[in-house]
């Protein structure tokens, strides 16, 4: 998994690529919580276009990110879900709790 950050005026976009699993989900969790709790970026957006696989620990990291965002009154947005990523969020019935968009333009609107 690789994470690259793009900082805009009121938002940070994390471009995530590769597989999110037990080996790297702690890194994702740490990155998200730092952005939300320390930087308090109003809108944190995850570009998941390049994510081919997410396991349950990855989903847990996303849920923690969402909870941290809600605690701070910030927005936490996902876009570009691959079929595999969408499948996992649907299977866990968590897709409904996230703001999910098809592309970056929608996520920033």
């Amino acid at each position: 998994m690789q994470i690259a950050a793009r900082r805009l005026d009121q938002a940070t976009i994390f471009d995530i690529t590769g597989h999110i699993d037990l080996a790297n989900s702690p890194e994702l969790r740490k990155t998200l919580l730092k952005e939300l709790r320390e930087n308090k970026t109003p809108r944190v957006i995850l570009n998941l276009t390049g994510v081919r696989y997410i396991d349950s620990s990855g989903v847990a990291s996303l849920v923690e990110g969402l909870k941290a965002a809600k605690d701070q009154g910030l927005r936490f947005i996902l876009y570009g879900l691959s079929p595999a990523a969408r499948e996992v969020l649907q299977l866990s019935r968590l897709i409904k709790i996230f703001e999910v968009f098809d592309d970056e333009q929608q996520a920033l609107a």
Binding site: D21, A23, Y53, S56, S92
Partner: protein, 156 residues
Amino acid sequence: MQKPGLLLDVVLVSDPHLLSVVRAAVERLTELSGFSPPECRSITRAVDEAVANVIRHAYGGQPNKRINLSCRRISCTVKGQHREGLEIQLLDNGLPFDRKKLTARSLDEVKPGGLGLHFMRDSMDVMEHRRVGRQNQLRLVKYIDVNAAGQDSQGE
């Protein structure tokens, strides 16, 4: 003696970085076994979650313990019907399963964690845990759905 129908028999260490290797092997094996693409993803996810559980819970995150993963083709009768499928067995010498944790949490709860078991149960037709001596044994079975094989609902 080699088990009948054996397709894969490997020992790996309990390092989370090897999960991607397990996924690659299992996904290819499921493709070769005739499962549909959604089933291949689903079985791969179940095995990935099972190995991750061994690493996290049985071995408490220690990265140098042994895990045996084997896969074999099976042919049997289920409810009077002949079925063919894939049996996956995981063996480890870690801590015994915590029976209390074997119940997947309710999906109505929005909280991190506890989803792995749900993914495994949802994906597989059979999921059996046993403790034999000092060994944990997990057996997962997925039967081939002759009507679904070769289809891809995701269009990949």
